[in-house]
């Protein structure tokens, strides 16, 4: 895609680009209290790609994801999903938050949590149950549909949140530091689960993290953000072999090299 200032009406050319982010700016507050958080971001995400956005805490990663998910209007600039400007939550998109305890409804069973978003799509009850079963199977939780989220461990709760997103059958899955609050062992499991799910469902994934290892391990490309106000420092192609493996990939010299590169970029200035 050609870079340069685009007028408001212009729509990005049709390529295999799924998401296009153009000069995205977000300022919280107004007047003297105004705080620029996103300072003119440009990048894109291709169809079927796994993109990780990595940056230090407070960089504006959550803000960025909320803008992309249509939950927060940008101050200026725009983002497009399949050529259509995002100005509200797009139907093709599902979101997984870091705070699994707060994003699941404690008054609903696991299955009801997973089917809840489907009630909106005009899907029959039987189809909803089938989808929930499939999604729960995909995350390895086929045996707990009638439990309540709070009866599960943190890692399992986050699996439920992922299953809920999968059952929604999105084309783009966005995840905001989804594994930051689980223990290391569970995190590795969930990372591999996410990679599997992406193969199985052929979805485009945008995952935000502050964990450099995680970003390089998961991504096809890593978008490195500097500290606030966030700008794109660099976009790195992760040319390590797939499928990834927690032991082999992380021992790969290329992985180490890329990880150092991202680390230096984040630390710079």
């Amino acid at each position: 895609m050609m870079t340069g200032v685009m007028t408001e009406a212009s729509i990005p050319e049709q390529t295999d680009q799924r998401l296009v982010i153009e000069e995205l700016r977000k300022t919280y507050g107004t007047g003297a209290a105004a705080k620029v958080v996103l300072d003119g971001l440009n990048f894109d995400v291709r169809s079927g790609e796994f993109v990780c956005i990595v940056g230090p805490s407070g960089a504006g990663k959550t803000t960025l994801l909320k803008c992309l998910a249509g939950l927060l209007p940008p101050t200026s600039g725009a983002s497009y999903l399949d050529g259509i400007q995002i100005d509200g939550p797009p139907e093709k998109l599902a979101l997984v938050f870091q705070e699994y305890t707060r994003s699941l409804m404690p008054w609903l069973t696991v299955e009801k949590n997973v089917t809840l978003p489907l009630s909106n799509k005009g899907i029959s009850k039987r189809e909803r149950r089938t989808r929930a079963q499939e999604a729960l199977e995909a995350v390895g939780l086929a045996d707990v549909p009638s439990k309540y989220p709070w009866q599960l461990s943190g890692g399992m709760q986050q699996r439920v949140a992922i299953a809920r997103a999968l059952a929604y059958q999105p084309e783009v899955l966005m995840m905001d530091e989804p594994f930051a609050s689980v223990d290391a062992q569970t995190r590795f499991e969930l990372e591999d689960l996410t990679l599997r799910v992406r193969e199985q469902f052929g979805i485009t994934i945008v995952l935000v993290t502050h964990d450099i290892d995680e970003a390089v391990y998961l991504a096809d490309r890593v978008v490195v953000l500097g500290s606030a106000p966030a700008q794109v420092r660099e976009i790195i192609d992760v040319d390590v072999t797939s499928p990834r493996d927690q032991v082999k990939t992380k021992a790969d010299p290329r992985f180490t090299e890329l990880r150092s590169r991202v680390f230096e970029l984040i630390r710079a200035r």
Binding site: G70, F97, S103, W150
Partner: protein
């Protein structure tokens, strides 16, 4: 005078008992109270408005055999339940609106703060003037008294809604109304149910007071009549009935609360343990 004693009866008469041990202790305390009463009624207070325990029990047996007693009791319970039901319905609906629209919340807060502490007994003369000593009058007073706790609790619960939960719902395409019904309302359930419990405890008391003081039909009015006629055994039997019914009422609401909130941290800990 009479009002305060009735007001206090359901609250202090028997607090909720937990376990058989507490039950035994409670039973002993009741027996001691009855013994003290009996001694007083036979000795220093004899001849006054203090019939013996046996006489009161006799009054109770007499009451239970009368059809009018049961219709009075039904009347009182209906007044309490209908008033409470209306209060819960309007309190929750109004509370969701007040709680979710920031502008409305800020502009009505003062009004609610001013109206809230006005006890229903104070508005009784006005209501009595408008509706007369009728069941409707009683229902309205119960409604008025119960509305505030439900409304205030609902507003608090709605404003306590988790932004992550709301964002989640929004990202799945839930509109405003859907979020209110499927996210905000269940999320506020703990607050609302507490409001209902507070209101419920008041509902029965207000119903009785509206009958006792306002003359609406029910056991409160029967109590007034018995007192005026000097039928003390019957009067105390009625007080006893009120205590038992009030206790049953509150126990029922407590069970309802547990059932509604089986998923809530305040309740589920007991379930798991």
């Amino acid at each position: 005078m009479a009002i305060t004693s009735i007001r206090r009866f359901p609250a202090t008469g028997k607090t909720r008992v937990a376990g058989s041990n507490a039950l035994v202790v409670g039973a002993i305390a009741v027996l001691i109270c009855l013994a003290v009463w009996e001694v007083g009624a036979r000795g220093p207070l004899a001849g006054g408005p203090f019939p013996t325990v046996g006489a009161i029990a006799g009054g109770l047996v007499g009451l239970v055999g009368e059809a009018t007693f049961w219709s009075s009791l039904g009347e009182t319970l209906m007044t309490a339940l209908v008033g409470l039901g209306l209060a819960v319905l309007s309190g929750v609906l109004l509370g969701v609106v007040l709680g979710s629209v920031d502008f409305v919340y800020r502009s009505t807060r003062l009004i609610i703060e001013v109206l809230k502490p006005i006890p229903p007994i104070v508005v009784m003369p006005l209501v009595l003037l408008l509706l007369g000593p009728t069941t409707e009058m009683g229902v309205f007073l119960v409604f008025y008294g119960c509305l505030w706790p439900v409304l205030i609790q609902t507003v608090a619960g709605v404003r306590d809604a988790d932004p992550v939960l709301l964002d989640t719902a929004r990202s799945f395409g839930f509109g405003r109304l859907q979020r209110a019904v499927r996210i905000v309302l269940p999320g506020a359930a703990a607050f609302i149910v507490t409001g209902v419990r507070i209101a419920g405890a008041a509902a029965f008391v207000i119903a009785v007071v509206s009958e006792l003081v306002g003359g609406a039909p029910g056991i409160g009015r029967d109590l007034f009549v018995a007192q005026n006629a000097g039928l003390y055994a019957q009067m105390y039997a009625l007080v006893f009935v009120m205590g038992v019914v009030g206790l049953a009422f509150n126990t029922g609401l407590g069970a309802f609360e547990k059932w509604m909130l089986h998923w809530h941290p305040s309740v589920r800990r007991e379930v798991v343990a």
